[in-house]
Every structure is written in structure tokens, then in C-alpha cells.
Amino acid sequence: MKIEKTLIDFIDEALGNLDEGTSILFVCDSLTLNDTITLCGLIIVNFIKQGGGCIVANTSLPFSMIYVDIKSRSMMEELPFIEKGAEEGRCYYIDIASEEAFQEDLSNFKGVIKINNDPNRIIYEILFLGDEIKKSFPDAPVMVWYNNFSSSIIDFGSESVLKMFRKLSTSAKQKGYLITGLVNRDLHDPRIINTLMHFADFVVELSSEEKGGVKQPYVRVLKSPILEPNVTNLQQRYAYTLSGTNFSTIPSLAPVFDKLKRNISYLERGEVSIYNMEYLITPLNTFLLLLKELEKNLGINEYNEFAKNFGKTVGLEITNFFRSKYSLQGNELLKEAINYLLIRGWGRLIEKVGSLELGRLKISSFQTFAYNYGKSDHKVCAIFEGIVSGVLEGVTGNKWTCRETKCMATGDELCEFEAKVEK
């Protein structure tokens, strides 16, 4: 039996196949630690779903906490696979931060092993449980997830933990296990991180950078397996989104914004000018207050109609501007018109399915307006529906309708718009 993929696109594209004996290290900082734990958790759950065996050694999270997290991430479909794996003796959880009493509904959960926090005991338990799994499931590949090396370094010192990882990764190569571990780089001397990376075959880094007082998380591959030629640009950083069970990367638009930013200038009459046009740099709150007040005044239906019509004229103006100034057509014109909006603070297009030629498009996007709107019982992006239909009409010359099918203000992870050409 072979399990070749983690089912996380970014990892699979960079890693190629999950070969036996591969050791994977996730390096993170303090801010991205939770994301890294979640990402590793998703990889393990996907591995179990595909029939693999797993051993999770957790230094800081009691089992009940992980269990609640799995439930809260809408992983109800996955839960029976985990329970079945534990029942069959294919999945084990080594609980080092063991708790006095399980929550009531966890008291019968099999596969949770509570042990003392001792490096030799941990290694022994991992290898022993690996052998146990192999006895019952000789064909099943086994993945070990060590979460996390940083806490163990605090407990036992770096030398002991480096030896632990060395032992684990060599044992993995002998026995054909896969090893996944994570370390918080903010805690350690760079030499320790480099040594851990040296032992690993594949290293992924999650890090954050402060921008304008806000922290932006990034992911990149730092090291790929020696036999794997897939990764050509190791230093490429991607912003990512992680919500529920979805981990996806977003190509950078920052250079386009940086160009816009360089061209912002201030004229002494109090005008803010970009490319010789006057602009307002106003808090998003200005639009939230204005459009909410308008919605209250007109009622939802009339407001939606107004906002769609207004958005449509804006969409048409944007495309007319790019067509006349840069002589753009078709997909190029669509791309520039969308980028124009995306670097002005309204949000980000995450996924586009369909095409102009098909006359049908589905757009998933992060909408700052909806994200900051507050909880709503109805979809709130009518103005964007109008802008999308206006841009598409401007690009193709045909009339389009656009309908918001999911909205962040009503609790969806992203806003989703379906546009189709009118017949």
C-alpha cells in the first residue's frame, strides 16, 4: 500500500511524492505556530483517511484539546476515520501534557498513551508503537508527528533534542516511516534550527512580517528532497490562507501595490494625487458607515438594486479607462481591471473558475468590506456584484449578471460570486 500525497496542494507540488523514510520539518515563528500545528494536523488527518498509520507525540497539547479542535474545524467527516484508526490500533496519540481526567465523551477513546516527559521514554514509545502498527498492518505506511521540538528543547536542552531527531530520522529511514516535526525558530540559536534542517529531507517555513502594524503570514519551501527536482525557486514566498480544513497560497500582489504607493504624492492644497488623479485615502469605516446607513434608509432590496447599479457604472468606467489608456483587450483587460480594485483595499481574488469565452465565471474572494461588516443575516457585497458585472460587460461587450452566493458577513470563509453572460 502506498500513500503518495499529503492532499495539501502546496506541499505536494513542492515535495513530489511521499517517499518512505522522508523526514519533514516545519520551521515557524511564534505567530505562525498555531497555523503550523494546524497544517501538520491536516497532513496527519489526510494520511489516516488514506489508510496510513500514525503516531502523534504531543509535548504541550492534551488529547482533549486536539480533539475539540478537530471537531471545531468542521472535520466531522474525518472524525470517524480517526476513531476507526484508533480503534484498529493504527493511530496513537502520545500525550505528554497528560491531563487528570478526560472529558466524558473521550473516556473510551482508544490509542491515547500517557507517558512521562522524558526523551528516552518518548523515543522508545514512538518506536514501540511503530512496531505495533506494523505487526497488525504490515502494508500500511506510518507517519510520526512530533509536536513540538521547541518545547522539548526547553525541557531537555538542545543537544538531547537534536540527538532525538537524529535518532528518529535515521530510524525512519531504516523502518520506512515518515517523520514530521515542527520547531519555533524564535526560541533558538540559528545553529540549532540549521542542524534540525540539516537532518530533514524537506523543510517548509511559515513566518510572519509586520506591515503597517499588522502581521502578514507567509510560507515557503527551504529545502526539498535531494531526488526531487520539482522545486525550482526555493526562495519564493507566498502569503497563505488557512481556514477550517483549507490551506491555500496566494501569489503576491505586493510589487503592484508598491508601485502605486511610490506614486502617491501630496499637493499643498490638501490633495492626494496618484498618476495625476485625486484620491482619498480613507478608513474602510467611511464606506461601512455610509453604505450601512444607506441600507438602513432604503431597505435591503432597494439598497441592493442601487448598489448594483452604481457598482456596474464603476466597473464599466474602470475597463473603459484601461482600454483607452493602455489599449488592453480580453483577459489582459480583465486582469488589470481586477488588479486595480484589489490593490486599493477592497480585498483579494483567491480563485477564479470558468472563462470569458465560456460566458460563466465563479470568483472566490476575500472582501474587506464583508469581513469588517459585522455579523449579518444577509449577503452584503451588492456593490461588488455590480462592479464584477460592469467589468465583465466592459471587457466583452455583452451584458453579464453577477450574484453573490457566499458572503463572509454571514459566516462563510470567503465571499463567492457567480457571473454569467445574459442571453
Binding site: 455610509l290 483595499g345 477592497w346
Partner: protein, 426 residues
Amino acid sequence: MKIRNTGIEFVDQSLGALYDGLPMIFSADSTTANDAQKLGSLIALNILEKGGGCVLIYENLPFSLAVNETLYFHSPENKLTLEKAMNEGRLHYLNIVIEDAVSTLHFNHSEFINTVANDPDRIMYEILNAKNQIRKNFSDIPILILQTNISSLAVDFGSKAALNTIRKVILNVKSGRDFFLGILNREMQEPNVTNSFTHLADYVLEFGIDILGGKKQPYVSVNRTPLLKDIGRKLYKKFAYELSEDNFYTIPSLPTSFEELKESISYLERGEITAHDTNYIITGMRDFVHLLKEVEKKLGKSEYTKTIKTVGRSIGSHIAKALSSQFQPTTEELFKAALNHLSITGWGKFNILEGNTNSKRIRVEGFSVFAANYGESDHPVCVLEEGILQGILEELTSLNWTCIEKECIAKGDKPCKFELELVENH
């Protein structure tokens, strides 16, 4: 018995809920360490008020000083809460700085003020002992262990021993239904030691100082939220804050010059533009004028004026609040700073022609970029600016004002002129 919130809105929003076994760390610098301690004390008081238990360890303050300076802020209500909890045996204080026993006598049950030798194993033992004592009488209440200066532990015993002690305390807390809160001065250790402390916690708040326009601005940001919740992610940014006797709240901050705005404005890959922890939109003035013209057409002049003025007043109020949080200048200086803010964000340049915030009438003139882009009109068009100016003044003076645009560039006047008048209460 469950206690699910700290009573501090900012913490509760970013934390989600207090849950069994929760470890928290507040990481501060030397300037903000006292604020972090006070916030920790407020949380402890709120938990005691809700019937919970507390074990307090103030590494540098004897009980008599801690109780006056940081625990009840000289507030009689807070003192009552402390006395009640101590009388019931829900509050234990580990006194590491030994003091004359006389100073603790004004509390009836001073047996719960335990003098402890400054030794990591002894402190650990006393914490567990105090917890057990509380548990004997209150088996089902959550207990907060508050260590207000874990950096001092590192000074006394070395960072490794301090880390091991805190790790043990946290593992102990995780195995039960209690909470841990440690306050850390990150300037006293190497960054990797500070990061090791924060690594141990599920929820981390960072306190610090930013220099804005040459002035110091304290901020707070959420550096870690529990794995189970994504709700804190929205708050992974810096907030200016205010700390009062019984509350802690955050306030938006604003850039004070165009250069500062341009420098700090940044693009986040989810499509957000931020500067100074606020989301911004960069919008063409023509598009904005177009939007308001359409709104006016839709609502009619009277309803449009009413609606847009309401919006303007809210915007003005936000501007004034944000500026007030940054500096402590006079109301007059704040009014000028607010006009300057309008200018650097593209609304146009406005000056005070006559009057001041102490007079009953103020005249403001300015080049309104909105009016300049509006096209010809037979009536003044700067309704939003009227509302903004009114909102700024109302927020700054806590009095009611009116604002009317008397002359407008869109009508052919140069420049726009606004008259603000105090509404007298009869």
C-alpha cells in the same frame, strides 16, 4: 462552576473564551510592564468577583504594596472583592519579598498571605499547595495563577531554571481546570528566552511603545490565540489602549503627517491596505463624488443631507477619538490636528478663520477636493465635511454643535467656508 470570560472586552474578543487549562502570557517592555501588570490584576479581580479562586505571586512587591498599588487601584469596590475572596479562602498571596507582618494585619485572614523563600522549587511547591488549599473548600471553582513578574525569576535563578519552573506550572495548569497568567518584561532577557516563555502559552498579548510623530504611543497586540479559535487573527495588529481603574480598552490610532501615512501604508496579501492598525481604502475622488451624487439623487436633498451628516459626524467622532488617544494636548491643538488629518488623507486643506474651541462660534475655510471635483452646483455640496467637522468638535468638547457650509467652491465661491455654532441648552 465555569468562568468563561475575563470581563475585559479586548481580551475576551481575541481569546474567545477562558477554557480549562489555559496558559496566558503578557509580554511587555520596561515602559509598559506596569500596564501589563495592572491588566493582569484587573483580570484576577474579575475572576475573584465571579467567585473564582486566585493564587497571586508578585515577585517584586510585598502584599501591602501590591494590594494598594496594583490590585485595587485605591478603588473601594475592588478592595471589597479582595477582602471577600480572602475571607472565604479563595485568594492566596505568595509573599516573596518578606515584609513586616504588621503591614498585612488590616486583612482579617492574613493566614492566606504566605511568606515564601525565593527559591524556584519552593515557589512551585507553594503554588500547588495554595491551589490544593483552595480546592479543599471550593472543589469546583477555576483558579487563576497570576505571576506578575516572571522576568524576575529569570534574574534570580537564570533563564533555564525560570523556564523550567514556568513550564512545570503551565503543564500542571493544563492538566486541570485552572488558568495561568504570567507577566514578562521582554527587555530583561535575550529574545530567544522571551520567545521561549511566550511559546509555552496559548494566548499572548504584547505591550510596547511606538514613536509616532516624535511622541510615545503605548500599544497592545495579540501575538497568539488558542489553537481552537481563529477569531483572534483579526486582532493580530497593534492597538493604542487606555487603562482605567476598572477597565482596559483599545482605540484606533491615526498618522499625523502625509509622510507618516505614506511610510506606514502597507499591502496585506488578502487585499487589505493598512496603516497604524486601521484598514484603508484608496478611492478616486471622482468615484467618491459619483457615489454621493447618486445617493443624493436616490434619497432626495433633505434625506440625503440628514443621512450624510450622520455618517460625517461618526467619521469626525472617530478621528477625534483616535487623535485624543495619541496625545494629551489641548482641545484646540486636537481640533487643528483633526483638520490636518483631513488634509493628509485627501479631503483638502482646512484652516480656522475665526474662533476657537472655547468660543461659541468657529469659522473654518478650506479648499475642499470633494467640491472641486463635484462640478457646478447651485447649492453647497460639502455635506459630509459639515458632518465631519461637527463630529470632531462634538467629540472634543462633549457639547452639541451645528455646522453649515456658507460658501462652496462648487457654487463658484473660493474657498469653501463653514460656520460651526455651539448649541446652547436653555
